[in-house]
Every structure is written in structure tokens, then in C-alpha cells.
Symmetry: C2
Subunit: 436 residues, 2 copies
């Protein structure tokens, strides 16, 4: 028998495929999968695409010290090796309240939250996913700035939510555009389907921009105003909050909601400490605590208790702040290297190519002429990866329906300054080539 | 104004409640929440209820050695502190293939799976939850043995699945009962809604029983036979597999499906090593790999990479097997203590009280006369917790609709032999009191 015959016979009649859920259909074809596949297929490329954090500043020494402490006394060590609770370690949650008070430049008393409003998750990603689960029925609406964090777009697709984008600029989401959109939804009679406004408030992934200080209170007020028959949850994703290099110190959106009943604040130790411990957290309005815990109870009934205690130790001993300072110093150099390289390499293309200057985070958002597409199937992407050997994230992944195709996300997370300079030079060559 | 007035006014008109998803409704009122609340309200009780593992044998020394190795070389240490992949560390997955080959008493070659069929999760719980997500639409059917692992019943409720129970006995689920049930579903024309058969195949939580060796192949064959228009997935939850104290060495259900296209094998390091690292895994039929990874990509895009590497080191260095041996020796003593105490304390109640003898795991399943209810609201539970100061898990939690109310799950996980003896004495007093 020939191969063709064999193939015809091969799916044994005894094993048909499983029949999947609607949710499985919705969670297919994620941008992140393409991206990772591209990364694997192009290992020889300089990566301006990878979402990894800087290797050099990962806390090897601090982790060693913290582990030594955690395992020093067998009696307490065993507690850390045991199951914790679904919401997470009290020790870490208590430390987090102090830490938040510092970030918010206030006192623990003024902060006015209690430990039970904090839920520790597997990265902050898990918090985003759980909130989507407990809020969205298929067809419910999430408002987002455009572009936005593409993994969250995948989460929203995965629960069958409809995404409505609101325009932004260098100051983040535009207040008047948000108001117009909410008003329109009200006029259309579908405000009842709007469950959430999602914003990456600091040094956004992918644009690097932050929501301007003077837009913050108005945004919270708008969400409150349009929360008539039910509360529209404002999910403030502050993943990059602590990676601030210059520019103003911005108050959180969360702090603009003094009753803490409307805004969820999501943060993570992935960027400021180490993603390998997968520890993030949410500060939740009281109404959301039990729903989130119930869902997490089903998902895993608690993230790594040991890792939570490791981070508690690092905070408790005062090691964290110095570490973050060092991390920021290092990223600042890398950001500066990227900005300088962009200015230099694109000096002849000032009309065609533009970018935002980020004051923190890991990303620079680059726009090229409209006619130049950047997607995985574009000529530019092919040339960049195959000829120049440099990879970026196509900007269209960061729009729910690939609305704009002439942008890209550049990361200075993983390369060192020399690598960044070389990467930008290669990128400039690619763009110049494709513009011809 | 009096308190009542204040309460009437207190929900500020500016902050109505969020409007939750259907899924949030379904994930409310979980047994585990009641149980944890009871545990917290009764801290002075001896706990035969807690699902914790033994404290004494938690691997403090091994963890210390493993961490030292992981952090020894800064270059590799940084890799472990970085993000991993969604599916998990290649290093651990390679070790797991070797480990599985040993458990299955075969060679890596004979085992015939590749690394990509292994997915590492946050405990094995996360794998169970993800499988439920990708398989069940509301109203779809899961077959389970009754009683079964109550947290998974919560997961099924959370996705709106319908649970159909199949009778079991000391040999696990009954083959003829399973066949009758499948045939009935076929006759009713709703076989297309049956997505999964879930079985805890070794030393079940809650009954302590295993599926008999001679029932294993017939069960797999039945599932294959009734997988006509789509594949019914057999989820083999082997959480307690490695905690074997005596009795026969049982082949996995997974090994009865030599093409590995029908059975998912879920295992965990929570019971045999340390739950604090939250590391479990699944061996998946190829058809399920991408669906599971896509969903996990949304949920957290990877569990703790550092913890995965810690366990890889423990396996790689050959430390794991000795550790499991020690853990089993210790549990065996505790199981023996519980069985001896039961025999002694209930010697006058031999007609009324019965239990299964477990050959592994952490649990003994006790039945009392039908008229004696064991639930949270029963007289027995109140007397046990308030007067005798002992806690157990009411058996009805382990049935989807609390079908039977005269059973209880006793755990020898956390107490030492003296505590176990005292706990059983108190329990016997409580039962004797309530039988009067
Ligand atoms: C904007 C944003 N939010 C959340 C996350 C989730 O990260 P983690 O789960 O590691 O906290 C990321 C990671 O890249 C991110 O960029
Ligand atoms: C039968 C069974 N399956 C799965 C689990 C999940 O445990 P883990 O997520 O720690 O692997 C448990 C834990 O108690 C269990 O009893």
C-alpha cells in the first residue's frame, strides 16, 4: 500500500476526535502562539519581540538569601512547603499592604484596605483571566484603549466577549472619546452589557505610554457615572508601574476611587523581581473578592505558597526596594540606547517613522507609513527575519481586529545596549528596504 | 438614625454591584469554602478533615539542596528565574518521561510519548479545570464514580456541566453499572453530550479505594466503544498513585489505552513531594495538547518555571525516589494507626459502622447507619466539633446532589499517630452519642 492509502486508513475508527466546548473554539489562534512559533522558527534573530525581562538583573543572589532564610528553620519551612489558602499567604498580603502604601505615598491606615481584599495569583495574568471569567457572558462588552495588551485580547476572545476600542494618544486613552463611546452605548441601550473598562495605566504594553495624571480622575468618574444599573469594573493593569525611569510619578487610577469599590488594581512581581516565581496580585473591591476566590478555588485553589513566602521575605527584609532601583537603572540605560539608536538610524526617515518616548516599562511603539504593513505575512516581516535577522511584534496583534497594520512593538527587555543598537540598525535597514 | 436605617442607606447609589457572569453563579457555594470556614471556626478541633499532607515528611532538606544547585551558577539560575513556556520546562518534562516509564514499569521507548504531550500545571487541579473548560459546554455530561473528589464536582458545576454518577464498591467504579449507564444515555440519544468519564484511579479521594486491576481494561474499552461520534475523554486522576503502602501494584488506566489517544493521565507532586510548589502535570492525547495549552495561555501562560526546575533537579539527582519511600513509610504507620483505632473504638458498633481499608492515599471512608446524618447541619457534626472537638468531612459533599448523607471522609494526612488515635476516639464518642 502506498502512503496515501496509509493516510486514509490512519485515523482508526476507534478513536474519533473529542468534541470541544465553545470556549475551546474561542481560545484558538492566539497571537501569542504565532509569536512564540516565530521566535522558535527564527532563533538566529535578534529579538526586539520577546516579552522576557532583562536577564542580567534577575535576582540570583537575593533569591539565594531568601531561600536560605525560608528553609533555615524546619518548622516554619514546612509551613511554606504545605498547601496555602486560595487567596494566598497572609504574610505576603500583609507585606503588600505596606508596599502599596509606599507606592501610593500614604500610610497603611489611610490606604484603608484589609488583607482580605488582596488575592495572590499566578502572575497578574491569572487575575485578568479570572476577572474575565466572573464578569463576561458571551456577547458582553469590554472597553479597551487601542492598541492594548494582546494577551488580554486573547482572554476576552476566550470568554466570547465583544471588545470595543477607544482611541488613545501619548497621554493614554482619551477622556472625550471614552465619554462619547459610553454615551453611544447608552443611547443604543446596551450599557447593560458593558462589564469592564481595561486599562494598562503605566508604561503600557505595547505603546509605552501612561494615562496622563489629569485624565485619571475623569476616567474613574466617567466609569462611575455610567455605572447606573450595575457597576462597570475598571481593571487597572499596573504591571509596569514599578519600572519608572523618569517622568512624573503618577497616582494610580485605583487611588482616584477612594471607596475602592470600582477599580481593581492588578500588579505583579514578574517585571520588578522575577517572572519565574509567577507571583502577582489584585486589590479588589469587596464585591469581587468572593467571586474571584471561588473561581480560583476551582482553577487551582492557590498559587505557589512557597514562592509567595519567598517574596514576602524579600519585602520584609527591605531587599526589594534596592533591587527595583537597580533594575530601573539598568532598563533606563537600555531604553536610552533604544531611543538613541532610533533617532540615529531613522534620521533620514523622520517623515515616515515615529515613536512614543516611554518613561518606564519595556516597550517602544513604532509607526511606519500606512502603506507599509508589518504583520507576520508582510514583506517587511519576512525581510526583517530572513535577511536582516531581527524580530519585532507586529502592531496589529494589539488591536482586536487588526485595525491598524503599520505599527510595531519594540522591546528593550531582553537585549543589552549593544544588541539593541544592532537590532534597531537592522530594523532600519529592513524598513528602508521595504519602503523602496 | 438607628442601625436599620443606616443599613438601608449604606449601599451608595453611586456604586451598584457588578453584574456577574453565569459562570460566577455556577461557581458559588463550593463545598471547599464551607469546609475551610468550618476549619477556621473550629481551630481547637483535631482535624480528620484537613486535606493537608503530612508536615513531618515535607522535604526541607531536599529543597535546600535543590535550591543551592539551581542558584549555584548565575547563568543557569537566571534562566530559571525568567518566564518559561506555557507548557512548562523541557527539563522537567524530560525527567517526567523517565519517571513515568519507571512507574509504568517499562522503558522510555516503550512508553511511546513525546515531551510535547506533557503539560505542566499549577498542581494537577489546574489541569482538571482546564480540561473541563475546553470540553464542557453548559449541559454537557460528565460521568463520575459516586462518591468522588468534591473539588472536581465544583469545577464541573462551575462550567455548567451535568454530572451523572455511576455506582462503585471496594473495587472502584462498577463495570456493569458503567456499561448500563452509557447504554442508557445512548438509548436516550444524548451520548453526544457525554464529554468525559472522570475517575480517581488510585486510593481515591474520598473513599481510599482503587479501581481493581481487572476492571481497568474493560473500563477503557467501554469508553472507546461508546466513543462513536466523538471521543469521550477518560480523565484518570492519579493524584495518589505514588502513595502506595501495600496491596497490588496497579497498571494505570492510561496504560490500557496503548495508542494514548483516549485517556488523560493527571499526576501531581503535591502529595509525594510538596504542595507548596504547586506542580502537577498531565499526559495528554495529541488531540488535547493544543486546546489545553491555548486555554492555559489565557489563564497564566505558564506555572512557576523556577519550581518546575526545582522538581527537575530532585528527579535528576535521584533524590525523589528515596523521599517517596520515606513518605510512604510514614503514611503507612498513620494509616495503620487509624485502622487500628477504628477497629478498637468501634468494636461495639460493628453492625452500625463500616469502612474501606485503603492500600494507599490519605483517606478512610466511613459509613454510619442511614438514619444518622453527618452533614454540616447535622447533630453529629455539631456534637463532634463543639463537644468532642474533632472534625471530619461530611460524605455528602462528595456526591453531586448530596445523595447520601450517612458517610464521612477521614484523613490521616496531617495528624500524627497519637492525634489520629485521639481523633478516632472522639469521633466514636460522638457517633455513640448521636446514635442514642
Ligand atoms: C500589560 C501586562 N499585563 C499583565 C501581564 C502579565 O504578566 P504576569 O502574569 O507575569 O504578571 C503582562 C506580561 O507581559 C503585561 O504586559
Ligand atoms: C483526587 C485529587 N485530585 C487532584 C487534587 C489536586 O491536587 P494538586 O492540585 O495539589 O495536585 C487533589 C488534591 O487534594 C485530589 O485529592
Amino acid at each position: 500500500m502506498g502512503t496515501a492509502d496509509n493516510e486514509t486508513l490512519s485515523p482508526a475508527p476507534s478513536s474519533p476526535a473529542p468534541s470541544f466546548s465553545q470556549r475551546r473554539e474561542w481560545s484558538q489562534d492566539q497571537a501569542i502562539s504565532y509569536l512564540m512559533a516565530q521566535g522558535i522558527e527564527n532563533p538566529d534573530c535578534l529579538s526586539l519581540a520577546a516579552g522576557f525581562v532583562d536577564f542580567e538583573t534577575l535576582p540570583v543572589e537575593l533569591s539565594r538569601k531568601a531561600y536560605a532564610e525560608l528553609l533555615d528553620d524546619p518548622q516554619t519551612a514546612r509551613k511554606y512547603l504545605q498547601y496555602g489558602t486560595t487567596a494566598g499567604s497572609d504574610r505576603l498580603r500583609d507585606q503588600l499592604i505596606k508596599h502599596l502604601a509606599k507606592l501610593e505615598e500614604t500610610t497603611v491606615e489611610e490606604l484603608g484596605i484589609d488583607r482580605n481584599q488582596l488575592v495572590l495569583t499566578t502572575g497578574s495574568q491569572q487575575l485578568l483571566a479570572i476577572l474575565a471569567d466572573v464578569l463576561f457572558d458571551p456577547g458582553d462588552i469590554c472597553l479597551v484603549a487601542a492598541p492594548t495588551y494582546f494577551v488580554f485580547l486573547g482572554v476576552l476572545a476566550g470568554v466570547g466577549a465583544e471588545v470595543i476600542t477607544v482611541e488613545g494618544d501619548e497621554g493614554g486613552i482619551k477622556v472625550d472619546a471614552l465619554e462619547a463611546q459610553l454615551e453611544q452605548l447608552k443611547q443604543e441601550g446596551i450599557l447593560s452589557r458593558v462589564k469592564m473598562l481595561y486599562l494598562v495605566s503605566y508604561y503600557e504594553n505595547p505603546t509605552g505610554v501612561s494615562v496622563d495624571a489629569d485624565r485619571r480622575q475623569p476616567i474613574v468618574d466617567l466609569v462611575t457615572k455610567y455605572s447606573t444599573d450595575h457597576q462597570i469594573v475598571l481593571l487597572e493593569d499596573a504591571a509596569y508601574r514599578e519600572l519608572r525611569y523618569d517622568g512624573p510619578k503618577l497616582p494610580s487610577l485605583w487611588s482616584c476611587d477612594p471607596t475602592h469599590s470600582q477599580v481593581v488594581l492588578a500588579q505583579t512581581f514578574s517585571k520588578s523581581f522575577a517572572p519565574g516565581f509567577r507571583t502577582g496580585f489584585g486589590v479588589l473591591p469587596k464585591s469581587l473578592v468572593q467571586p474571584v476566590i471561588d473561581r480560583k478555588g476551582n482553577e487551582d485553589f492557590g498559587s505557589s505558597h512557597f514562592n509567595q513566602n519567598l517574596i514576602a521575605t524579600v519585602l520584609e527584609r527591605g531587599w526589594y526596594e534596592d533591587h527595583v532601583f537597580e533594575v530601573c537603572e539598568n532598563y533606563q540605560k537600555k531604553r536610552d540606547a533604544m531611543l538613541a539608536a532610533l533617532a540615529e538610524e531613522f534620521s533620514d526617515l523622520q517623515q515616515e517613522v515615529s515613536w512614543f518616548v516611554p518613561h518606564g516599562g519595556l516597550y517602544v511603539w513604532l509607526s511606519v507609513p500606512e502603506k507599509l504593513e508589518t504583520g507576520f505575512n508582510s514583506e517587511l516581516f519576512a525581510y526583517a527575519t530572513n535577511v536582516e535577522k531581527v524580530m519585532y511584534v507586529p502592531g496589529q496583534l494589539c488591536y482586536p481586529h487588526a485595525e491598524r497594520k503599520n505599527q510595531m512593538r519594540l522591546s528593550f527587555g531582553v537585549l543589552n545596549p549593544d544588541g539593541i543598537r544592532l537590532g534597531i540598525a537592522r530594523l532600519a535597514n529592513s524598513i528602508r528596504h521595504s519602503l523602496k
